[in-house]
Amino acid sequence: MEIIINGRTVEFSADPRTSLLDLLRDHLGLPGTKKGCNQGACGACTVLADGERINACLALAVQYQGYAITTVEGLGREDGLHPLQRAFIEHDGFQCGYCTPGQLCSAVAMAGEVARGLPSFVTEDLSADAMPLDHDELRERMSGNLCRCGAYNGIADAIVATFGNDVA
């Protein structure tokens, strides 16, 4: 089986029950993606599959053969952080850091969803082509990522600072 991880094609063989999360962390040596609840409730394991955010804990690796997966390791490098990573530092978007890789991947995909006009539950006019990334929209759209330190205000500030102009 083949899967593309952060631009590199990787061969793997695994029990069909192996989650994409366990494949990344235990088989491929990429521990940046975190295991929080392991049941789709916390979002710490969020990665991008062909650019769309998913919970790697609920994804069976075999179902993602041929997909291009992006993890936090592929988002930026130590010597070249993603603009959102720099904004998280600037705006205190984390304390313990455990939810951060998931928050980063989730927010990057979220900005794409807003840019292409995908509504959210709080979007008033469902027929609108574009919607602002205002206070309520941002919080609704990021509700699949929990932060037990409660760094939400910093996380929201970092996301607005990075994507606010593009999506407003």
Binding site: Q39, N55, A59, V62, P119, F121, L126, S127
Partner: protein, 328 residues
């Protein structure tokens, strides 16, 4: 650990053949529920037949309705232009369910067939008639704040967790299936069973029968429809009570209405009695309240969930009043 095989179906006949010829096979969609249930050992399939390669199309029908492929992702359904404009109740219900990550994974077919989130169903140290037929039910006298006030039985009071299905059942959705005995169609309202004495049998589907598509008949007044969800936090939580409604008011009179409830019953609950009570009545708060009362006359609370009866009454009334106000 028992072995599990995996195969990706290339077509509907291929999927049915794989399921029929492999013992202990289960169809696999996005996996957001089945993978979790397997990890908890509630589900123990011997073979997974991946049906995510089947139709994801969302297409208008000649008669003005819509056909939705069972493998369409929840995100694609909520983002679809026709759904947003002609069936806003459906877009909003889908967007009320799960998180963005879950909606990107979950399919329409899987959403329909997802299983209850009753904590006793998940807990293998608890008694559950749905998990182990005849074992008993620890929810009925246990922590049952999330449980059913309508349609439950002495064997099971678990609720169906879907938001999407509540909108679909309000919109008279038809489920298309295919299986070893051929293809057939049935109203979604008839797909899920009430628990009775056999809560382990949740739908009318026969072994290896596969949901291939969901069809929405044309319903022009559904352009004015909405979904309201009451839950313990503002986002990403299952419903305590939810209401899907479409209302057609002409000259102050309710000409037609579609109403369904979530979070209160073992299946997506079409509020037939309330609809019947409302047609031809003045579009006033008093009528809406009377209709809600008619639907909830048979509702019964357990130890922790009696509040849902009044909550459902108020939510129904508020949603209908909101829709009526829009048309004033």
């Amino acid at each position: 650990m028992r072995p599990v095989t995996y195969a990706r179906a290339s077509s509907v006949p291929d999927a049915i053949r794989l399921a029929e010829t492999t013992s202990g096979a289960r169809y696999l969609g996005g996996g957001t529920n089945l993978v979790d249930l397997m990890r908890e050992t509630v589900e123990q399939p011997e073979a997974l037949v991946d049906v995510t390669a089947l139709s994801t199309d969302i297409e208008a029908t000649r008669g003005g309705g819509l056909v939705i492929g069972a493998a369409a992702k929840n995100t694609a359904l909520a983002g679809n232009r026709t759904v947003r404009e002609r069936y806003p109740v459906l877009a909003r219900a889908v967007l009320a369910g799960g998180s963005a990550q879950i909606r990107n994974m979950a399919t329409v077919g899987g959403n329909i067939l997802q299983r209850t989130r009753c904590t006793y169903f998940y807990d293998d140290a608890a008694r559950c008639n749905k998990r182990v037929p005849g074992a008993g039910c620890d929810a009925i006298d246990g922590f049952n704040r999330m449980h059913a006030i309508l349609g439950g039985s002495s064997a099971c009071v678990a609720t169906h967790p879907s938001d999407m299905c509540v909108a679909l059942v309000a919109l008279d959705a038809i489920v298309h299936t295919d299986g070893p005995a051929g293809s057939r169609s049935m109203p979604l309202a008839d797909l899920h069973r009430l628990p009775g004495k056999r809560p382990d049998i949740e739908t009318e589907l026969t072994p290896s029968e596969l949901i291939t598509a969901v069809e929405l008949p044309p319903l022009p007044f559904a352009a004015r429809s909405t979904y309201r969800k009451v839950r313990d936090r503002a986002s990403y939580a299952f419903a305590l009570v939810s209401v899907a409604a479409a209302l057609d008011v002409t000259d102050g009179t309710v000409r037609d209405v579609r109403l369904a409830l979530g979070g209160v019953a073992p299946k997506p609950w079409r509020a037939w009695k309330a609809e019947e009570a409302l047609r031809g009545q003045p579009a006033t708060g008093a009528s809406f309240d009377a209709a809600a009362g008619a639907e909830l006359a048979d509702a019964a609370g357990l130890r922790d969930n009696g509040f849902k009866i009044e909550l459902a009454r108020r939510t129904i009334t508020a949603v209908l009043a909101g829709l009526a106000g829009e048309q004033a």
